[in-house]
């Protein structure tokens, strides 16, 4: 059972309009959505965190394409990215049902990859669809001066964000 992290129920104060894309779940569409997400994040997120979140969100979208619609291909996949003054929240959702891959060494790693790349991850999977939420601490420094995140912070990124 999924433990619900606190950030899931707290209000999220957007500092700019979210990115919202709904597309047919194909390998080509999610590749192009990845580029859109990269452009959207690059405006005010450090380059290292952009790399990590783009990869994590892409892995979530590929799961939707590969596993979410195994029975009925070309269902929808939705990507939403939101920016607050100190966090980024990315949501990838589909209407399919994921199958947990068993004997596939690396497909199975897609999920663990997602968990390692974001500060916290919440996955709600049911018969009507799957919602993956990626949460990352990302100090907002306006549009101009983007610095790399300190290395020490990434080292502690496995658990939920620390209480502030």
């Amino acid at each position: 059972m999924n433990f619900n992290p606190r950030w899931l129920s707290e209000p999220f104060d957007d500092v700019r309009p979210p990115l919202q894309l709904q597309m047919v779940a194909t390998d080509r569409n999610v590749s192009l959505a990845r580029r859109r997400l990269r452009d959207w994040l690059t405006a005010d997120v450090s380059s290292e965190l952009v790399d990590d979140l783009v990869l994590a969100a892409y892995e979530a979208m590929t799961n939707a394409v590969e596993h979410g619609y195994a029975d009925c291909p070309h269902g929808p996949v939705r990507l939403q990215a939101r920016r607050s003054s100190d966090h980024v929240l990315i949501t990838v959702s589909d209407d399919g049902s994921w199958r947990v891959p068993i004997n596939d060494h690396f497909r199975g790693r897609g999920l663990s990859l997602i968990r390692l790349l974001a500060d916290d991850v919440h996955i709600a999977a049911g018969p009507d669809g799957t919602v993956v939420r990626l949460w990352a601490e990302a100090p907002y420094e306006g549009l101009a001066h983007l610095r790399s995140r300190p290395a020490a912070r990434r080292a502690t990124s496995l658990g939920p964000p620390a209480a502030r």
Binding site: S31, L55, Y58, R107, R109
Partner: protein, 142 residues
């Protein structure tokens, strides 16, 4: 949510336009160097697999996959690298990867592949590694 987005209206791209693999031969070691550029993801992983497979000839020359020009590396393409590594091991063929940039290093690191594969910061190091590995291997035909 907005209306369904159709990226075909903005771009119409095929997998082999987003990823390129250029093969060269190192005269010193005889190694085949495959320089991969572009984006290695779910869309282009089949192209990557096909292009790498083409260079597995009968002669067991070392293979180096140079990812220095790669702009994205996803788990589908990592699975291809892992399979190629397994195949090279089974054939007794030296195999090394050049991963210079964070965008390539990071996914290899979080999947643990950086310790399974022979990963190097630059081509010179990779050439030295395949040379040393080829020298260690007893020379016999199967």
């Amino acid at each position: 949510m907005p209306q369904t987005w159709d990226p075909a209206e903005e771009h119409n791209v095929a997998g082999d336009e987003l990823l390129s693999v250029v093969a060269t031969t190192d005269t010193g070691t005889g190694a085949t160097i495959l320089s991969v550029a572009g984006e290695a993801d779910m869309l282009t992983a089949p192209v990557l697999r096909q292009r790498l497979d083409e260079h597995f000839g009968a002669d067991r020359t070392p293979i180096i996959v140079d990812l220095s020009q790669l702009e994205f590396l996803g788990s589908n393409a990592i699975a291809v690298l892992f399979d190629v590594h397994e195949r090279a091991s089974a054939e007794g063929r030296a195999f090394a990867v050049v991963a210079a940039t964070r965008v390539v290093r990071r996914p290899l690191q979080v999947t643990g592949l950086d310790t399974t594969l022979s990963v190097h910061d630059d081509l010179d190091q990779a050439l030295k590694a395949v040379h040393a590995s080829a020298a260690q291997r007893p020379h016999h035909e199967p």
